[in-house]
């Protein structure tokens, strides 16, 4: 059976859409629900900064922007991840000077951060939840690509 690239791409565009496109509507809905549990919990715990493409937590943007490697995993959520990263860039990283506070970083350098930037477990778990949601969605989208349309294994489909 040939790999269904369309289902893979649709699954990356919106979690569950790949399975929905091959007729597995029941699975698609459950996949989207599971994704939302992880993604929304991550955003609630860590705030918008949980999904960030540049300047990971504990780095000083003034010393030159660094790519956030966690975003590679989060990007598995597709446009949702890029949309929230853009939102983070606009609201958190691009915040007005009056919304920023001076901070001392682990290398004793002085920087500034948005006053509601998550630190500690908030930053860790917020990032982790969204990263796992992205990774799981990538694996699920791959499954959509290899799933036959006529597969009748799934009860109410």
């Amino acid at each position: 059976m040939p790999f269904r690239w369309t289902a893979l791409v649709l699954g990356l565009l919106l979690p569950g859409l790949g399975h929905f496109s091959v007729g597995e509507r029941g699975r698609g809905g459950r996949i989207l629900s599971g994704f939302l549990v992880l993604w929304i919990t991550g955003l609630l715990v860590g705030g918008l900064g949980s999904v960030r493409s540049w300047d990971p937590a504990y780095t000083n943007p003034a010393q030159g922007g660094k790519r956030n490697l966690w975003f590679i995993a989060q990007a598995g959520a597709g446009p949702i991840a890029f949309g929230f990263a853009a939102l983070d860039a606009a609201v958190i990283r691009g915040s007005a000077p009056e919304d920023r506070i001076e901070i001392t970083l682990h290398d004793q350098s002085t920087g500034s951060a948005y006053r509601h930037t998550a630190i500690g477990h908030n930053a860790d778990f917020g990032t982790l939840f969204c990263a796992l949601a992205g990774l799981m969605n990538f694996a699920v989208a791959l499954d959509a690509g290899r799933r036959p349309v006529a597969d009748r294994r799934g009860g109410d489909r």
Binding site: R27, R30, G34, L38, F125
Partner: protein
């Protein structure tokens, strides 16, 4: 305790730094939901499978924590210092 001034999605959730372990069941539950949506054959068994996997993983974590606790608190102090 969650303050009334908390703005969801913009500000981090208050209280997580002190009590973060409760996030673990939610994390495992979400992963189980996505995993079992793909793996389970009959979707009528879906929620039973999700709860089963969540409980299994949590029990595995508890077992590992107990094992590490015994090693660190019980066995390591018995070892000769030199």
């Amino acid at each position: 305790m969650i303050g009334f001034g908390w703005i969801p999605l913009l500000e981090p959730l208050p209280g997580v730094q002190a009590s973060w372990l409760w996030l673990l069941p939610i994390l495992i539950f979400g992963i189980s939901m996505m995993y079992k949506a793909v793996r389970v054959g009959d979707l009528r068994r879906y929620w039973r499978e999700v709860v089963g996997m969540t409980v299994q993983v949590l029990l595995a974590f508890l077992g590992l924590a107990a094992a590490v606790f015994i090693v660190v608190q019980g066995i390591v102090p018995l070892l000769p210092a030199g």
